[in-house]
Amino acid sequence: MSKKIVCRCEDVTEEDILKAIDEGYTDFEELRKKLRIGMGTCQGRTCIMLALRILARKTGKSIEEIEKPSFRPPVVPITLGSLAGEEDED
């Protein structure tokens, strides 16, 4: 069976998403947190939209009806070293 990857960073496939929806994870936030969709280094820039679409299609709802996740700062990943106020050494 061909595997369609939805979230590369966290290695989540379309199949994983469909299975979780069948198990009852129809709330986008619950689905996302159950599978860790969008929790990777790229901050879910593409995978969140893809996952939203799959959920919308499967539940027959519009994307607007499904809550969008809140992005949590920092939006661009920063090293602990620079956050600590030190010079980057590399």
Partner: protein
């Protein structure tokens, strides 16, 4: 609608209660105003520690560890329970004396814990710099650990539904109906639900919920912040904490480092805005403890609330004045690790009227002009 027990709040405590009560064949309906895990549970470190300073917390945590260790099997889903230990830094001779006392008490209650030196700190968590930590040693308990808060809570909720419990998300309880000092029902989204018991497991909002029944509780919401970094190759299994610095951090199963510390702008109240002062303080302290982490990037930074009681101990059991109103809050930053035992005590009380010493020692009545013995081993 009619049910026996209404549970307010879909966090670890509410969902565990829904599971346990429904397993006993009791009719339950849980109301969560957002989604499951939207409160403190989905924002927490989910560390599980038996190294406490009071007998009560040590036993509650130890019994909870026993339950956690069998929970994946019971709930038929992996809850991500791992026992990588907790390493508690000791910074000076005075702290060493206090640690010796605590270890003595913990060991007498059957907890496998010992004092270790600087070399052993590096053996257990190789990235730590004991000098940067200003540590002269540490205490270590290998059976402490953590579980995945989402997996655990979702698993409880799924099994509860299979047992016949009703779970309503995006539905807020706005009113509690009390007649002749007895709970009669609640109102959620304009609908009345008749019931015999209401459990207040609304976390940092428990004070607002208690007020709906005319009950005043002394809890306060305290804003807490936490971060998670990008994934790193697996380097350590233990949770590292310090009571002096208030820091805690560990490497999650997926490889990310998750941690927190009391921020310079920490305030009471429902404040959701993350602060830069926290981020800066956390980054400074964390890279002092583990200098190699300088090169690791922070992915997310968020806020959550501790539901703080005056003595940092939970408040559980039936209200002395309002029959059917059950308290289950005031966890003060350690409600994940204690939830297995606390919810077991409460569900045994509701189903069989079973008494427990904790229903007395942790009763809301303890604040009535009595001496308050405070749990001091608190971090975060």
């Amino acid at each position: 609608m009619k049910t026996d027990v209404v549970i307010i709040g879909g966090g670890i405590n509410g969902c565990s209660l829904a599971y346990q009560l429904s397993k006993k064949g009791i009719d339950v309906a849980l109301f969560e105003r957002k989604y499951i895990c939207s409160g403190a549970t989905g924002r927490c470190g989910a560390g599980i520690r038996q190294q406490w300073s009071t007998r009560e917390n040590i036993i509650l945590a130890k019994e909870s560890v026993k339950i956690f260790s069998k929970l994946s099997r019971e709930l038929k889903e992996d809850i991500g329970f791992r026992q990588g230990g907790y390493l508690v830094a000791i910074h000076d001779e005075k702290e060493l004396k206090e640690a010796e006392e605590r270890v003595k008490l913990q060991r007498s209650l059957g907890v496998d814990v010992k004092i270790i030196d600087k070399d052993e700190i590096k053996e257990i968590v190789p990235i730590l710099d004991p000098d940067g930590m200003h540590a002269i040693g540490a205490t270590f308990c290998p059976t402490d650990g953590h579980a995945d808060p989402f997996k655990t809570t979702f698993a409880y909720a799924r099994r509860a539904v299979e047992n016949g419990a009703k779970i309503f998300t995006h539905r807020e309880v706005s009113k509690i109906i009390v007649e002749k000092n007895k709970v009669k029902g609640v109102v959620a989204d304009g609908e009345r639900i008749d019931c015999n018991y209401v459990i207040n497991s609304a976390g940092a909002w428990s004070r607002i919920v208690a007020r709906m029944a005319g009950i005043d509780i002394p809890n306060r919401p305290l804003r807490k912040e936490a971060i998670v970094t990008e994934k790193m190759k697996r380097v350590f299994d233990a949770m590292v904490i310090s009571f002096r610095d208030g820091i805690y951090f560990s490497q999650q199963s997926e490889g990310n480092i998750l941690g927190g510390i009391p921020g310079p702008d920490e305030r009471e109240g429902y404040l959701y805005q993350p602060t830069f002062s926290f981020l800066n303080h956390m980054a400074r302290t964390l890279t002092r403890y583990a200098p190699v982490l300088k090169f690791v990037r922070v992915l997310r930074h968020w806020t959550g609330f501790y539901d703080v009681s005056p003595d940092a101990r939970p408040i559980i059991g039936e209200d002395p004045n309002i029959k059917g109103f059950i308290h289950c809050h005031g966890f003060s930053g350690h409600g994940f690790m204690l939830s297995p035992m606390v919810t077991k005590i409460i569900s045994d009380y509701i189903s069989d009227g079973k008494d427990s010493d904790y229903l007395h020692s942790l009763s809301i009545e303890r604040f009535k002009g009595k001496d308050i013995s405070r749990e001091v081993s608190v971090v975060g």
